[in-house]
Symmetry: C2
Subunit: 424 residues, 2 copies
């Protein structure tokens, strides 16, 4: 009698989950990948959708399209509510999915540090819907400025505040400056879009705190030369419909974007002990303490290495995905699992056209060279050949013409903005 | 003392409004274009967004980008509520806009013939948001089929009904067949997407009633060879969350799309006498009866020619836009206005890959030749060089690979579908 195939379930098809799935490609198992959206999202480029440079489909590919040739893999669209580790079942809205080995990789979402009321006024950037909503808000602000006759309202409409000086905040602020000071300059008649102000607020001592002080300083200089006002030690105490309060200062702004904090997926808390960022603490082999058949990887997991948790970046997620999958295979083959070790290949943050910082193997790069490195790496890693070509085309076009190709206001942004700002 | 420039206002930046604006390019006037969205939409290709072949930004360009070099033109984002013809003001949510000459071109929206409750279950296709919502629904249906264990639910999920056998209905049905029977065939494990059923319901005797009976028959044959079930004389009497009733027959279907009726923008009724489709009757020079400084054009207007109203197609809107604008210039120059005459250059409807029908100057074309004619004309007319290149690339790619590049489920479709179909 044929032995039953081992059932491996992966929850989440971000970088971690997808690299785990691909590692299991030729294994004689039944593999199920569950995700609540139908697409894998190339999150490092999400800010480019938010800033109207790329299209949603340039950075997102259907998960089942990526895995169409992997015959052992079934892809299901579904929201996982809980993991029943005792009965070895993943509980979804559409019923339980039984497993023999489980890899959980649900990632993280933005966190407002307990001020959930801020979410309405300062959207964060994690999904395609977030990105198109932010895009609509940014573009709508210029429209509102062109339309109003009120000088104060016009100033507020042309004021953009990005909260959080990590890579996402730096990228968003740089992109906003390029939109206001370059892309839309000739499109308006009543306003000069160059009168816009773009603020980047960072609560700590310097932006890009995970980089060296030299790279932080370089990034700040590059941002400032783009026209961004960088304010450090600016702890935000209030965000409302009309602006942002920090310390004893207030900025009136129609558009406030949140890039300040992330929190692991809520599923993490149901799995085990979590750290301050809501991440589950895992064993050296990436398994859940006391539950050797469940692995937790990616932005959801707290993995200690050299005295600190490894960072929530794509390369770490990919490496952990591969490692967790190979540990599943070792378990199936009755071999002991192996400990994981993250290999840091360097960090890259982009700021704008021909502007970036990079730190690779002790070497610091900045400006055009760092930006080209960033471009090559990101296009190379984009999932799917078609996307790579299209994205290169979009970028080349945008670079030459200073234009942004996806300047669409969709959804009912106008009504929402009007409602929020207390107009009738 | 310099004479005040004449103020010309255009409401709506579809084909009619945009061609009017461009005709006024070098006139010494103050031109204001008001539209409730920030983009001109290339509506003939909207069904390609709904069917995941093209991206929203491939068929939409910011209005102010199109008119950026037209120095006499100011573009405003705003919703027009009413026209005060006595005081010569257009009333918007953000206050009145005064005019000396007005061109109204607000287009049409879908009509459910008084059954507005059907809108929820059978979305129509007029805006980008409609298109991305329909795209999400179609893709979600396959996901639901893959996930469910219930045979009846699976059959309903794999049943697609398009209501209305005009060009939009024909295009949507053809695209659905290509998705189910080609594009996603290898992507699922539990279902065979080729088991899907695609119905096109037409209340009249034949599909494409505006074409010759021979073209209608050819279109029906081409649809059937793609796998679409075409049902004529099928008058729909009920649409609910689980399906469609027509005559004494019922089809259980998760996805029902509405392409059966259009109705002129509600603004039309406030302007003057309307026909059954809500269109304003206009004078031979396209002006409003008794109000010579207001012109109404495009899908909003009822213009009689040779005993019948001219059709609501893009070429008619473009021609009327040019004509209304030149009549405005004649009025400014104190010359009498000229009557409009629509020149019908032929009709084209596409069905699928290498499938279409065309009628040009008494000649009927079908199949590959008609499709190539359609392709060239549509790419040629796409506003903006960048879009043309990208769309050609997308099409070439889709043609060669049978793939669809924009298969993204966005928005909260899952929750809505679940709610509608009575799941918890």
């Amino acid at each position: 009698m044929a032995q039953r195939r081992e059932r491996v379930v992966i929850v989440g098809a971000g970088f971690a989950g997808l690299f785990a799935a691909r590692t299991l490609k030729n294994a004689p198992i039944d593999l199920t990948i569950v995700d609540r959206s139908n697409h894998h999202l190339f999150q490092p480029l999400l800010y480019q959708v938010a800033s109207a440079a790329l299209n949603p489909s340039d950075i997102a590919t259907p998960i089942r399209r990526i895995l169409r040739r992997q015959k052992n893999a079934t892809v299901l669209l579904g929201e996982v509510r809980e993991v029943d580790v005792r009965n070895r079942e993943v509980l979804t809205d559409d019923g339980p999915i039984p497993y023999d080995h489980l890899i959980v990789a649900c990632g993280a979402t933005h966190s407002y540090f307990g001020n959930d009321g801020w979410a309405e006024h300062a959207p964060g950037l994690k999904s395609l819907d977030d990105a198109t909503q932010i895009r609509s808000r940014i573009l709508y602000a210029f429209e509102a400025a062109e339309r109003t006759e009120d000088a104060q309202a016009r100033t507020a409409a042309l004021t953009f505040v990005v909260i959080g000086g990590g890579p996402t905040g730096v990228e968003l602020a740089g992109a906003l400056a390029e939109i206001a000071f370059r892309a839309v300059v000739h499109d308006f008649r009543r306003i000069d879009s160059r009168a816009a102000r773009v603020f980047l607020l960072e609560g700590g001592e310097r932006i890009l705190p995970a980089y060296s002080p030299e790279s932080s300083a370089s990034a700040q200089r590059q941002l400032e030369s783009l026209g961004v006002v960088v304010l450090t030690k600016a702890m935000v105490s209030q965000i409302d419909a009309s602006g942002v309060q920090f310390g004893d200062r207030r900025i009136e702004a129609s558009t406030v974007l949140w890039a300040a904090g992330v929190q692991a997926s809520p599923l993490a808390a149901s799995l085990g002990e979590t750290d301050r960022a809501g991440r589950v603490k895992v064993e050296p082999d990436l398994s859940l303490p006391g539950v050797p058949d469940v692995f937790v990887i990616g932005d959801m997991c707290h993995f200690e290495q050299d005295g600190a948790p490894i960072p929530g970046v794509a390369p770490a997620a990919m490496q952990a995905g591969r490692h967790a999958a190979s540990n599943v295979l070792r378990r199936i083959g009755n071999q002991p699992t192996l400990p994981f070790r993250y290999v840091d290949k360097g960090s890259l943050a982009t700021i704008g056209r021909a502007a970036a910082v990079a730190e690779v193997a002790g070497t610091r790069l900045s400006g055009l060279i760092a930006w080209l490195a960033w471009l090559v790496i990101h296009v190379f890693f984009l999932i799917g050949f078609r996307n790579r070509l299209l994205v290169l085309f979009e970028w080349a076009w945008a670079y030459v013409t200073h234009q942004r190709g996806a300047r669409l206001i969709t959804g009912d942004v106008a009504a929402r903005v009007r409602r929020e700002s207390g107009e009738q």
